[in-house]
Symmetry: D2
Subunit: 295 residues, 4 copies
Amino acid sequence: MNIAFLGLGAIGRPMAARIAAAGLTLTVWNRTGERAETFAAEHGSRHALTPADAARDADVVITCLPESHHVYGLLDGPDGLIAGLKRGATLVDCTSGDPATSRKIQAALAPHGVEFIDAPVSGGVSGAEKGTLTVMVGGDANVLDGVRPVLANFSTKVVHCGGVGAGDTVKAVNQAFLAIHLLSAAEGLATLVKEGVDVTAALEVINASSGRSNSSMNLIPERVLTRAFPRTFKLALLEKDIGIAAGLARDNRVPAPVTQLTADLFRVARGELGELADHVEIVKMVEVWAGVEIK
Amino acid sequence: MNIAFLGLGAIGRPMAARIAAAGLTLTVWNRTGERAETFAAEHGSRHALTPADAARDADVVITCLPESHHVYGLLDGPDGLIAGLKRGATLVDCTSGDPATSRKIQAALAPHGVEFIDAPVSGGVSGAEKGTLTVMVGGDANVLDGVRPVLANFSTKVVHCGGVGAGDTVKAVNQAFLAIHLLSAAEGLATLVKEGVDVTAALEVINASSGRSNSSMNLIPERVLTRAFPRTFKLALLEKDIGIAAGLARDNRVPAPVTQLTADLFRVARGELGELADHVEIVKMVEVWAGVEIK
Amino acid sequence: MNIAFLGLGAIGRPMAARIAAAGLTLTVWNRTGERAETFAAEHGSRHALTPADAARDADVVITCLPESHHVYGLLDGPDGLIAGLKRGATLVDCTSGDPATSRKIQAALAPHGVEFIDAPVSGGVSGAEKGTLTVMVGGDANVLDGVRPVLANFSTKVVHCGGVGAGDTVKAVNQAFLAIHLLSAAEGLATLVKEGVDVTAALEVINASSGRSNSSMNLIPERVLTRAFPRTFKLALLEKDIGIAAGLARDNRVPAPVTQLTADLFRVARGELGELADHVEIVKMVEVWAGVEIK
Amino acid sequence: MNIAFLGLGAIGRPMAARIAAAGLTLTVWNRTGERAETFAAEHGSRHALTPADAARDADVVITCLPESHHVYGLLDGPDGLIAGLKRGATLVDCTSGDPATSRKIQAALAPHGVEFIDAPVSGGVSGAEKGTLTVMVGGDANVLDGVRPVLANFSTKVVHCGGVGAGDTVKAVNQAFLAIHLLSAAEGLATLVKEGVDVTAALEVINASSGRSNSSMNLIPERVLTRAFPRTFKLALLEKDIGIAAGLARDNRVPAPVTQLTADLFRVARGELGELADHVEIVKMVEVWAGVEIK
């Protein structure tokens, strides 16, 4: 089975590396070409100069880009994916995308006999490296079944969520929860610090109690209390993600005031902390507001 | 060691029962006297008619009431706790209280040679029944050490968080997180339902991903998707709790917009759903807003 | 000059009536045909059966519909506006629309030599009846100049705000302010009532002070304190309007938390109060929340 | 009639000056003594070294301080107001205070035969200079009547709002409206600027329409569009004022999400802009968020 992988970013690169390591025939493409060239050299895979070239002969094309419109933007033109894709191929989009654009991509591919599923992943860089990602899939169940062997190279859990766009939707809602948990954790912990309470003791309690979350159990202890704030997943991308979730709520006329407010405050944070900030750095915005460090 | 237990509500009753079962000398009091009478008859303990009477001869007095001011209100007068308490006794307040009132209680007891710690618990009714509660303690470490054997009857984890009020503070922040996680989960899941996504599949993904919380892992699957909504912990009390956390943020000049908004929306919910509603029923408010059931 | 007027709703009808009264040649169309028929009979104007028929021979076509997409939906097809419009005609859209759709309408008309301006109005039914509306215009200044004599029939102030969409934008922002002023006035006045303060005295002060707004000076005294709540402008439309403003803020990456929250609470109110409620009835939502009447 | 005036700040100073100009016997006191000394020299009034000294022989004592607790803090001790006040005197507190503290002040004065009214003012520095302030009064109507001749020196409108605290309450709500109108105006106008709309044209429309407020009609054109941002009334004080209003809403269980959110965002702004910033500078926070200037 021939695989093409487009988008060798923080998550995409280790995903592609696992596919290469599994011995599948792999062609890679990346917007910044050197990154693909280096990857190809290191992993014994082919390096394509255009999306069309990458897609040629591929049974499965995997895309992993910042936003859905980046994928959509690769479809057309003489160098575009559609020019290279063969009938019967499947495009698996692992971008944390938005459902509306995913449906547009599906509609653009259908006349060419190319199947589409949206397949965002969770588990982060380390999950990608270990091959323990979770994949949330929107699209036809049969199409999904056809690519499961490929997904198995980088994931241990694949969940079929519904039609095209359902994977994006679940991912966006998961990310909204993450954003809300992080921001509200910062609010509460900044209060504890100012009250003179020992944060480590407080988290020991909370993480054994009803207020616990992945943020309080993992992100805050490992990244905030240590003051490490490693840059593994951009705040700018989480801002984009909760923006998708907030938009879905509005489009469906679901009043979601906590989600909307948090989306707006992440917009503030992205402006103040910049495009390179890690998502956990939202905590720093609250720290500045409160005049305190959480440690 | 003689123990007095005041407040045989949903949590207090099984806590007191475990103390009785351990063979300690126990006197119980409850505002509604029959409840204490019945308890005493069932558990072979003494039933006091007044707080003063309950406190007489007690080495440790445990209170477990809805709010701190209820405890404060038991202190004075001929029938009050102070009239009965002996020098050297300790008042352990397991109420989910507020730090300011806890400090007032401590100040009122100090001239009488009575020690005080605030010791709210988490773990719910089932934790109380099994004796697996977590206790978060504010107060002097030596005083805490003196009552650890008593706490051991109903808890498996005791965490010293700081001076008097620190236990209340940690509890309030935990409850704020719970309230925020529940409300935001409802917003996100209502959106998923309206998008036609299978909620069970979505939760399978989220609960393996960065957006998970105790609410998404336990409360939503067990109580919402089943439409069971058992009444185990009142929304009115959670509204009170997040109100304490929101107040602490304001008093410390910590901007906490997500906490403040959620506190206000729980105020709305308490008005709309009533004093008897369970805390998880906040989900129903969002369901009505969105015109959808999460199942 | 021949005029066509499409959309004889609460505002459109008195606007069209003033044009008829001025002696201009007027053709009217309305989705519910009887309303146009009656109007034509009463005002000596022609009644068209289709948009195409209404537009035929018209120099200026005025549309006044609930939302921009309703106008866009009238353009195409054998009975559509484009089929009837002559080169050199101008479409003046008085709908409280959204800029993106206005730009789509402009783009659809341009190949047919038809000019377009968006021209929402303010001043309400009574302003329309008296001919004292304010018109906020987006589009080419020369095109606006060409239709000023027509606008003069129902307005006393015409303000050119910028290119196509600018009129919509200003209108949406005005409506957002109205929505925010009303909702926050209800919050504050409900508090005053519960504090036992005389609301009439309070408004006498506020309306002489820095907190005054059109809402506190006119809407609240005339419609709330009297408990009259006349139905002159639908809450559903104001919810749509602030939604447009909130969307423009997001599209431009302007953090606007007060606007976003108010938009979401109007979404709640629209669901609870229904499609027929007047915009001032948002006050009733707060009254129910607070358990009090503002009077 | 002998008058004492305590607190010669931005508003207090011109108020006292008008009393002096009216020929009443005036004694002044100020925390920073030189300011009182200078004032006394310039206006031919007496300069007291302590509140007790100022109050001696006074029929009416007027206080005008930043917060209620500052007034409360002047009452006791050998140099305190109570030590100097004679039976039958009246304390008129023009501070923008909080009702709870006003009631404590009343209760402290009553045993000494001293009457109390809370009497916050609106109209700003220029209103104080011209003697055109509005006074909102809480307290006994007869007590108010007794001091009306004094109030007449600096005000043209005196409104009796209710019992002690009612003046504070109305003032706080007025200020909350001001804060909300300013912040939301900034959100909307920043959006207009980014849409390329001319702000002056937009305000011409809005100020003739339903979205107008004192902020849009006066503050924004005079202080923001000109980029003058004169420092006439501190943002820190407005933050305190909306905090009082938000607290009254909570105490009365009035859900007031827009007020609570705005109070929190003013807390953020006070931290970011500092203690000296003018209240209108809240606009600058939104400008930084949006990356745009409103002009």
